[in-house]
Symmetry: C2
Subunit: 464 residues, 2 copies
C-alpha cells in the first residue's frame, strides 16, 4: 500500500478501525512555538560543543580521552539540570593510531599526506601503485593483478545536500582493502571519501573479510590523490607506505544517559542523542559534539519548563559510534525488552548544518501526528518529507528491533569537507545554524513527549 493511500485511510476510517490515531494536543502545539523561539535565542548547545571540543578535544574510542569524555558527559548532564544521569558499559576492541606517512620514491620523490583507515594494521610496504577509478574497477581487475602492488582507488565523491555521495563512495573504504587483498595487493591507498580541497585526509573504519591477512590501508587528501594520479600519467610510481597503528586488546567505555523524567508516564521515553566519541584527527566538532550539544540543549530547554513533559526525554551520548555503532548496538541489546517504551528516537549525527527536512517511520495511525510536528517545525524552514530519511546510526539497531524513529535531516553540503578529517574543529560551526537544530530537536522531542498515542514502536525480530 502506498503512503498516500494509508494517510487517506487514517483520515476517513473511524479511529477504532485501526490503531487509535495518535494526536498532538493543541496546548502542546502552542507551547512548542514558545520553546522554538527560546531555543533559537539559547546558546547552551554552543557552550556544550565548545566545552567538549576544547576540554576533551579528540576522543578516539578506547583512548585516554574516551574516559575523560564519559566523565565530562555525566558532569554536563548534571550541570544542565537533568533529573537522572547514568552510564551503561560498552565493550569493544581498541584501535590505536601512532604514526603514518607515505612517500613517492625515485625521480619524483616527495611525501604524500595520508591517514590510516580505522582498523588498518600497521606495517611498511614499498611497492608500485596501480590506480583504479572506483571500487567496481578494482573488483574487475583479474585475480593476481595486484600481486606485490599497492592498490589506489581514486574515486571522486559527489557533494550533495543529503549525503548520498557518501553512501555511493562507501565501498571504497569498507570493502576496498579486502578486495585489494584478494587481487594480491600488499597495501591499499584511496582518495579520501570527502569533499575538502585542503591537505586533510579522511579516516573512517574499514573491515577486512574473514580469512584475509589485513594490509596497511590509508586515505590520501584530495590534493595528494590528484598529485599521485598526475605522477602515474608520467609512468610507474613506487610508494613507501608506513603505518604504525592497529588493534590492541579490549576497552570498556560507556553510553552516558541523562533524563528529564516524565510527569505522567516516566517509563515511556522519547530518545534523542548523538555520539560522544570522535575520530582522532580533529576535535570532533561536527562529528559529533554538535549532536551532543544539540540534544543536551534540547533536553535542558524542555527541563526548564514549569512542569515536566508527560513522557521522559532521554538524551543518550553514545559510545564508539565511529568503529561500528558499538554504543548504539549495545543500547538496543540492553533495552530490547523495552522497545515499545521507546516512543520514538532520533539521533543528530550529520553535523551542524541547518535542518531542512523532517519525517518519521511511523505507521498510518501516527502520520497525522507526524505531520502536526512538521507543522510546528515549518517556521524553522523545515519541510515535511514523508518517505525520506531514516534512523540515525546509533538509533538504527533499536529501529531494527521495532523502535519508531524520526529523521531531522541536516544540510550536509559542507559536511564532508570536515567529516573524519583534521578540519573538524569548533570554528567550522555556525552558531545560528546550531540554534536552529536545537529548536527543531526541542520542538520534536516536546511534541512526541506530549503526544496522545504512539508512533508505532513494537518489538520485532531484527530484520523483520
Amino acid at each position: 500500500m502506498r503512503l498516500a493511500t494509508l494517510l487517506l485511510s487514517a483520515c476517513l476510517l473511524p479511529a477504532h478501525a485501526l490503531a487509535a490515531e495518535t494526536r498532538i494536543p493543541d496546548a502542546a502545539f502552542d507551547s512548542a512555538a514558545e520553546l522554538r523561539e527560546r531555543a533559537l535565542a539559547d546558546d547552551t548547545a554552543w557552550k556544550v560543543v565548545e566545552s567538549l571540543t576544547t576540554e576533551i578535544g579528540p576522543r578516539l574510542a578506547g583512548s585516554e580521552a574516551d574516559a575523560r569524555a564519559v566523565a565530562w558527559a555525566q558532569a554536563k548532564f548534571r550541570e544542565l539540570g537533568y533529573d537522572k544521569v547514568w552510564t551503561e558499559p560498552v565493550t569493544f576492541p581498541k584501535w590505536e593510531r601512532r604514526g603514518e606517512s607515505a612517500q613517492v620514491l625515485g625521480a619524483h620523490a616527495q611525501p604524500l599526506l595520508v591517514t590510516a583507515l580505522g582498523g588498518s594494521p600497521g606495517g611498511t610496504v614499498e611497492a608500485e601503485i596501480v590506480r583504479f577509478e572506483n571500487f567496481e574497477a578494482l573488483q574487475a581487475a583479474p585475480a593476481g593483478a595486484l600481486a606485490g602492488r599497492i592498490a589506489f582507488v581514486d574515486m571522486h565523491m559527489e557533494r550533495t545536500r543529503d549525503g548520498s555521495g557518501y553512501g555511493k563512495a562507501g565501498a571504497v573504504r569498507g570493502k576496498g582493502p579486502s578486495e585489494a587483498i584478494r587481487k594480491g595487493a600488499v597495501g591499499y591507498l584511496m582518495r579520501s571519501i570527502g569533499t575538502s580541497p585542503h591537505r586533510v585526509a579522511n579516516t573512517g573504519i574499514t573491515r577486512f573479510d574473514a580469512g584475509l591477512t589485513p594490509i596497511p590501508s590509508a586515505a590520501l587528501s584530495l590534493p595528494d590523490a590528484d598529485q599521485l594520479a598526475r605522477l602515474l600519467q608520467r609512468g610507474p610510481v613506487r610508494v613507501r607506505l608506513a603505518l604504525d597503528c592497529g588493534w590492541d586488546g579490549e576497552y570498556t567505555s560507556h553510553n552516558v544517559i541523562g533524563e528529564i523524567t516524565g510527569r505522567e508516564t516516566p517509563d515511556e521515553v522519547v530518545l534523542i542523542g548523538g555520539h560522544l566519541d570522535s575520530w582522532d584527527l580533529g576535535t570532533g566538532a561536527i562529528d559529533d559534539a554538535s549532536g551532543i550539544g544539540i540534544t543536551m540543549a534540547a533536553g535542558q530547554l524542555i527541563g526548564q519548563l514549569p512542569q515536566r513533559p508527560k513522557r521522559t526525554i532521554r538524551v543518550v551520548a553514545f559510545a564508539n559510534e565511529e568503529q561500528g555503532l558499538l554504543g548504539g548496538r549495545e543500547y538496543a541489546r540492553r533495552h530490547a525488552g523495552d522497545v515499545a517504551k521507546h516512543v520514538i528516537a532520533a539521533e543528530s549525527d550529520f553535523g551542524a548544518g541547518r535542518i531542512y527536512g523532517f519525517s518519521t517511520g511511523a505507521p498510518a495511525h501516527a502520520q497525522a501526528a507526524s505531520a502536526r510536528i512538521a507543522e510546528a517545525l515549518a517556521p524553522l524552514g523545515i519541510e515535511h518529507m514523508p518517505g525520506k530519511g531514516g534512523a540515525g546510526p546509533d538509533i538504527s539497531p533499536l529501529a531494527a528491533i521495532g523502535g519508531a524513529w524520526a529523521w531531522l535531516g541536516q544540510d550536509g553540503t559542507q559536511y564532508f569537507d570536515l567529516h573524519h578529517n583534521a578540519d573538524d574543529t569548533l570554528d567550522k560551526i555556525d552558531r545560528d545554524d546550531l540554534a536552529q537544530n536545537v529548536a527543531a530537536y526541542t520542538v520534536f522531542a516536546w511534541l512526541a513527549a506530549e503526544a496522545e498515542g504512539d508512533f508505532g514502536s513494537a518489538p520485532k525480530t531484527a530484520g523483520e
Copy 2:
C-alpha cells in the same frame, strides 16, 4: 619634490634639460596588444606550474629536490626555446625539517598541530604557556617573566589585497623568538602568519639575534591557536613541544637563467623571474611555481615573435628565496658591475591572483614610458598606480644597488590562505588568473625591451 610635479616637469621641459625622455615606440605598443591576446589564450604557464609542482613537488632549499629543481629549470628553459640557458651558484647554510609535534599535557591532554619555523633548532621542551596578544605585548613583558616558560604570541593577521597584513605581522615570526629568549623563554609558539581557517600551519624563516641561544620555535594552525587560547582561559596550560630540525652544513644551489637574446643591444636586459625553491609543506604552487611559470611563459611568448626584441629578456629562477633572498643577493653581488645594463626588473612572487596595479620606481624621464606601459596593461584590468608597490624580494638587492624595478601588483586576498603551508598545491591556482599574469608580464617585458631610453638604472651604493 612630489611625483605629480616631477611628471609635470618631464612634460613641460625640453628633453635635453633632463635625461632624455624614455619612450615606447608606437609599433611596439601595437604589438603589445597582440601579445596580450595571445598570452591570455596560452596555457604554457599552467603547464610549467603543473610540471614543477608535480615532478619535483616540495623543493626546500638545500634538499635533494633542490638539485632536481635546478635540473628541471634548465631543461624547461631549453624546451621553451630560450636562446641561452645557464646557472650561477648560490651557497647557503642548509636547514632541515625531520619531525615536529606538540601536545597539551594534563587534564585537557590533546595534540596541537604545529610546524617548525625555518631556522629553528630541534629540541623538546615541556613548559607552561604564557600568551601574548602581539609582538609588542611580548616586548613589554618584564625581564625574566618567561623564565622556564613557552611564549605564545597569538596575533591575528589581517586579510588584505595588497599583503600589508603580512608586513604588520612579520615581527612575530622574525623577531619574536629572540625577544622570547631575552625574557627567559625555553620555547616559542606563534599563531601562524596566515589567514587559512584550516588545519595547516605556516612556516617561514626566523632569525635569532647574535649572542642568544636559539630555542625551539614553531607556528600553530589558526584553529590550534584558538584552541590553545580557549584552554588558557580555563587555567594554566603545559605543552610539550618536540622539534626535530636544524642547520646542517652548507649547500650550493643555483640561480637558473634563460635568455631570449636581444637583436640590437643584447647586453641590455629586461629581467623578470620568480624563485625556484619552496617551503617543504606544500608543493610551492603559488609560492612560487606560479612566478616561474608566469615569467618563463612570458619570455617564451616574446621568443615566438618573428624577430627577437631589441633588448634581451632574461628570466631568472632564483635559488633559496625563502631563507633570506639568497639567490637574489648572490645575483646582485655577481652582477653589481652590470647594474646599468639591467634596464628594469620585476619578480612575480605573490601567488597567482590577478594583477590589479602597475608602477615602476623609474625617475621623471621614464614616467611617461611607465604610463604608456600601464596603458597597454589597462585592458587586463590593471590600474596605473604610481607611487605604489616596490621591488620584488629577489629584485630588491639589485634595486638597492641602483637597478630600476617595476611592480605588477597581484591580488593577495587569498594568498595567505596558502603561503608557506601545506595547502600550497596546484589545485589552488585559477588558470584564467594565471593567464592574466602572463599577459601582463609579457606586455611589460616586451615594451621595456623595445623602449627607447632607460628606466633609471644606474650604479649606487646599497642603501644610498
